[in-house]
């Protein structure tokens, strides 16, 4: 059986039965979604790296303690842990993130390369960098809703539970996030404008 055919549940079972390498597969399978979510929430790479490590250490501790309950999907559960770490962090700092991490972080180097020519590659790089910066410009609650729905794969009901709001509020935030993204793309006349509109 190929590793891609093994479910998260099976990997967790293998790990708790003593197969230590199973956890590495689980981390590598979900690293992009979890790390991207954390990065967009804190907007600082170093902090996102710390939160990422802490999230998985909590995940492993839960497995080791035998307290993991398979109530839903692994990714939303792990994302909740990461989200709570972010909330705790900003609660302790008593402020929401304001500092942008504008270092030239190469998104491209971290994306899978497909068969594409140099022009396609440059275009893709530009669009991805633009979209990343646009998401970073959204207000925290709108960024949060995109991250939780899009990357963490939480349903709007689950998001409403986690963020302690109603489903309609969660949907409203997503609606405003979309409105703001469209406005930013138009105002800045970004290269993705042609593709989107």
């Amino acid at each position: 059986m190929q590793i891609n055919d093994v479910t998260d549940h099976q990997l967790i079972e293998q790990y708790t039965n003593g197969n230590k390498s199973a956890i590495e597969h689980l981390i590598r399978r979900h690293q992009q979604k979890i790390f991207t979510s954390l990065y967009f929430l804190v907007r600082n790479r170093e902090l996102a790296e710390d939160m990422f490590q802490e999230t998985f250490i909590k995940v492993i501790n839960t497995f080791n303690n035998g307290t993991y309950k398979e109530e839903g999907k692994f990714l939303p559960w792990a994302m909740r842990i990461g989200h709570n770490l972010v909330i705790d962090y900003f609660r302790k700092k008593q402020r929401m993130p304001l500092v942008y991490d504008r270092e030239d972080y190469s998104v491209v180097n971290n994306l899978k390369l497909h068969d594409e020519n140099a022009e396609d590659k440059i275009c893709r790089e530009q669009i991805h960098n633009e979209v990343r910066l646009l998401i970073e410009e959204l207000p925290y609650e709108q960024r949060e809703i995109i991250i939780m729905r899009h990357y963490a794969d939480l349903s709007f009901k689950e998001i409403a539970d986690v963020t302690n709001c109603s489903i309609n509020t969660a949907l409203g935030r997503m609606r405003y996030a979309l409105i703001n993204l469209r406005k930013l793309i138009k105002d800045k006349k970004l290269s993705c404008y042609i593709i989107i509109f």
Partner: protein, 68 residues
């Protein structure tokens, strides 16, 4: 059409609609060009967001693995 909102389109995109809502939304998209355009724009934005995925450093992964 007057009862139709962008929330319906968002729920439809994320497959969170009930069967009757799914059918109604699909019909609305097929029937009203402005709703179709709205949906296409939304999909295009979501697809762009989808493309943005970052990786943690290998150092972070190794730190986690050393914890086991």
């Amino acid at each position: 059409m007057q009862d139709f909102t962008n929330n319906d389109l968002i729920l439809y995109y994320f497959n969170e609609t009930q069967l009757n809502q799914t059918v109604a939304t699909q019909n609305a998209i097929d029937t009203y060009p402005e709703i179709e355009q709205e949906y296409k724009t939304m999909v295009a934005i979501f697809e762009k967001i989808d493309g943005v995925l970052l990786n943690p450093s290998e150092k972070s992964i190794q730190k986690i693995l050393s914890f086991i």
